[in-house]
C-alpha cells in the first residue's frame, strides 16, 4: 500500500516490517540500494522496491551536495556496502540528475514470481539508464489515413484563420 502522510495521520502505525526487525530491515534496504546503484535497474518484490525508492531518491539528494560535504559522504558510506560505488554515485548519478528536483527513479510492476510464494515483483530503475525503456512511449502513427485527413483538415482551418485575420 502507498505509505502516505495521510495514512499515517488517519491510521497511525503504517510502517512496513521487513526481515527480522528494524536493523534487519535497514540492512536489507542497504543491500538493495547498493544493487540499484551498481546496476541502475533491479528486480525485487513490490514492497521492497517501494521501500527502497524513498531511500534511493534521498541518497541522490545527498549526493547532489557534492563529495566534499561530510554529511553526504557519511550517508553514502553508510548506505553503499560496496565502497567503489561511492565515486560512481557522486561522479555519475548526481550530475545526471542535476536539472531534476525530484523523481529520479521509476518503478514498474512485472508478472508475479514463478516460485511457490507467487510474490508480486517490480522493477526499480534510475532514470537515464543505458538500457532499453521499460514501457516504450506509444505514439499514434501520423501516417495512417485518418490522421492524414485530420492533418489536412487542421492545416486548412489554420489557413482559413490566417486569411480571416488578414
Amino acid at each position: 500500500m502507498r505509505l502516505t502522510l495521510q495514512m499515517l495521520i488517519s491510521h497511525g502505525r503504517v510502517a512496513r516490517k521487513m526481515g527480522l526487525g528494524p536493523e534487519s530491515r535497514l540492512n536489507m534496504l542497504r543491500n538493495i540500494l547498493t544493487g540499484l546503484v551498481k546496476h541502475e535497474r533491479i528486480e525485487t518484490t513490490l514492497g521492497r522496491a517501494d521501500e527502497v525508492r524513498f531511500y534511493a531518491e534521498k541518497l541522490i539528494d545527498y549526493a547532489k551536495k557534492g563529495d566534499t560535504d561530510t554529511k553526504a559522504m557519511k550517508m553514502a558510506n553508510f548506505w553503499l556496502t560496496e565502497k567503489d560505488l561511492i565515486p560512481k554515485l557522486f561522479k555519475v548519478l548526481a550530475p545526471r540528475f542535476e536539472a531534476q528536483p525530484k523523481g529520479y527513479t521509476r518503478m514498474a510492476r512485472i508478472p508475479n514470481r514463478e516460485n511457490l510464494d507467487k510474490a508480486a515483483m517490480a522493477v526499480l530503475e534510475y532514470k537515464g539508464n543505458p538500457f532499453p525503456p521499460l514501457q516504450p512511449a506509444k505514439r499514434e502513427n501520423e501516417l495512417t489515413l485518418i490522421n492524414q485527413l485530420l492533418k489536412g483538415y487542421r492545416e486548412e482551418q489554420a489557413q482559413q484563420a490566417k486569411t480571416q485575420k488578414d
Binding site: L143, T144, L145, I146, L149, G152, Q159, Q160
Partner: protein
C-alpha cells in the same frame, strides 16, 4: 429505397430527344467489356499449362524470411496470405513484391520477396494512395450505374490527389440532355446507397496487364477511354496497360488498387461540382470521402471531414507532393490542368492554396 424511386421520378421529367445514340445500353457495354476481360484473363492463365513452382519469401512483422512454395502464374499474394492467418487475409490491402506495389489478386510469375501491406503499418502511404484511387474508382462505377440507360455517362479519369486534400474525386461527363441537371439530396443519397451496396457485396478488384490493342478493344465504345489507353501505353515502361475489373465494370487506373470493396466501411459521396465546358462536354467532378474498416471515425470527426470534402478539390496546389508518381505527375497535371484552368477562380486558390 424511397430516395431511389424519387430519383427516378425526377429523371422521368426530362424529355428524351430523338435518340441519335447508336451505342448499346450501358448494361450491354459493361457485359461486353467484362467478356473481353475474362477472355484475356483466361488466355493469360493458359500460358502456364503445367504447374511450376516458385519460391516466395515473406517479409513482415513476425514473418521474416518465411518461405512459401507457390504456383507460378496462379498464386496471388492473396493466396499467400491465406497460408498465414485470417487476420492477414482480412487486413492486407496491397502487396509489395520485390519493392514494387502489386495488387493483391494479381498472379505471381517468378520467385520473389513479398510483404503484405495493411492500413496500420508504420508507413501506410502507398496503401493510403491505393485506397484513395480505389474509392474514386468505386465512385466512377456507382456513377456509371446510377443513370438510366438512355443517358450516357463518360468517366474521364481519376485525378491523382494526395490524401491530405480531404476528398477523392472522379471526373465525368453526362449526356448533353442532363446539362442543366443538378444533384439533389435524394440523388446523393441514392449514390451513397449504390456505393454501400457494392461495398457490402465485397467484390475483389482483379487486375490484368494487357497490350494496348486488347485495351482498345475493351473500350471500343468510348473514344475518351481509348485516348486514355493510348496515353497510359505511351507513359508505361513496357507499353502495356493495366486494366482493373470490379464486378461487371472494367476500368483504368493510375496505379494499383486495393484488394476488395469490402475494405471500405464509411463511404459517402459528398459533392458533384461543375468544372465548366471541356473537350467532351460539361465536365463534372464528383467527390467523396471514405475510411477503411480498421480506421473508422467517430461521427463528430466524420462530420467535420465530410464538410471539408464538400468543397471543390483541385490538383494544382498538390502537385508538389506527388513523390510517388516519380516524374509522371508534371505531365499528367499539365494535361489535366489545361482544360480546367479557366474554371478555377481566385477564391478557391485563397481557400486551398497552402502548399
Amino acid at each position: 429505397y424511397a430516395c431511389l424511386v424519387s430519383c427516378l421520378f425526377l429523371f422521368a421529367f426530362w424529355f428524351a430527344s430523338s435518340p441519335a445514340v447508336v451505342r448499346p445500353s450501358s448494361g450491354g457495354v459493361h457485359g461486353q467489356r467484362s467478356a473481353v476481360f475474362s477472355r484475356e484473363q483466361a488466355r493469360q492463365r493458359a500460358l502456364y499449362p503445367r504447374t511450376e513452382k516458385i519460391e516466395v519469401v515473406l517479409h513482415g512483422p513476425g514473418l521474416h524470411g518465411t518461405l512459401l512454395i507457390m504456383n507460378k502464374g496462379v498464386s496471388t499474394p492473396h493466396s499467400c496470405a491465406r497460408h498465414l492467418t485470417e487476420w492477414h487475409v482480412k487486413s492486407s490491402a496491397l502487396a509489395l513484391v520485390d519493392g514494387e506495389p502489386w495488387p493483391l489478386h494479381k498472379p505471381l510469375i517468378q520467385s520473389c520477396s513479398l510483404s503484405l501491406l495493411s492500413f496500420k503499418d508504420k508507413d501506410p502511404s502507398l496503401v493510403n494512395q491505393a485506397y484513395w484511387r480505389s474509392c474514386a474508382a468505386l465512385l466512377g462505377q456507382v456513377l456509371e450505374d446510377a443513370f438510366k440507360d438512355e443517358y450516357s455517362v463518360e468517366l474521364l479519369g481519376i485525378p491523382e490527389l494526395p490524401v491530405t486534400s480531404g476528398a477523392f474525386c472522379c471526373d465525368f461527363v453526362l449526356d448533353p440532355q442532363l446539362d442543366s441537371w443538378n444533384p439533389s439530396e435524394e440523388s446523393m443519397c441514392s449514390l451513397i446507397r449504390g456505393a454501400q451496396q457494392l461495398i457490402h457485396q465485397d467484390l475483389p478488384w482483379e487486375s490484368l496487364e494487357v497490350t494496348p490493342s486488347v485495351a482498345l478493344e475493351v473500350f471500343s465504345h468510348s473514344r475518351c477511354k481509348q485516348e486514355e489507353v493510348e496515353e497510359k501505353a505511351a507513359k508505361s515502361n513496357n507499353g502495356t496497360v493495366v486494366l482493373y475489373r470490379c464486378g461487371d465494370h472494367v476500368l483504368l487506373s493510375g496505379g494499383p488498387l486495393v484488394a476488395r470493396t469490402g475494405l471500405c466501411s464509411q463511404y459517402e459521396v459528398t459533392a458533384i461540382h461543375r468544372l465548366g465546358e471541356g473537350a467532351w462536354g460539361l465536365h463534372r467532378r464528383a467527390q467523396g470521402l471514405s475510411l477503411p474498416f480498421q480506421l473508422e471515425a467517430h461521427h463528430t470527426v466524420w462530420r467535420k471531414l465530410r464538410s471539408r470534402a464538400t468543397k471543390l478539390v483541385s490538383e494544382d496546389f498538390y502537385w508538389l507532393h506527388f513523390k510517388f508518381l516519380k516524374g509522371q505527375c508534371v505531365e499528367s497535371c499539365i494535361q489535366i490542368l489545361t482544360p480546367l484552368f479557366s474554371c478555377l477562380s481566385s477564391p478557391t486558390k485563397k481557400r486551398l492554396g497552402y502548399y
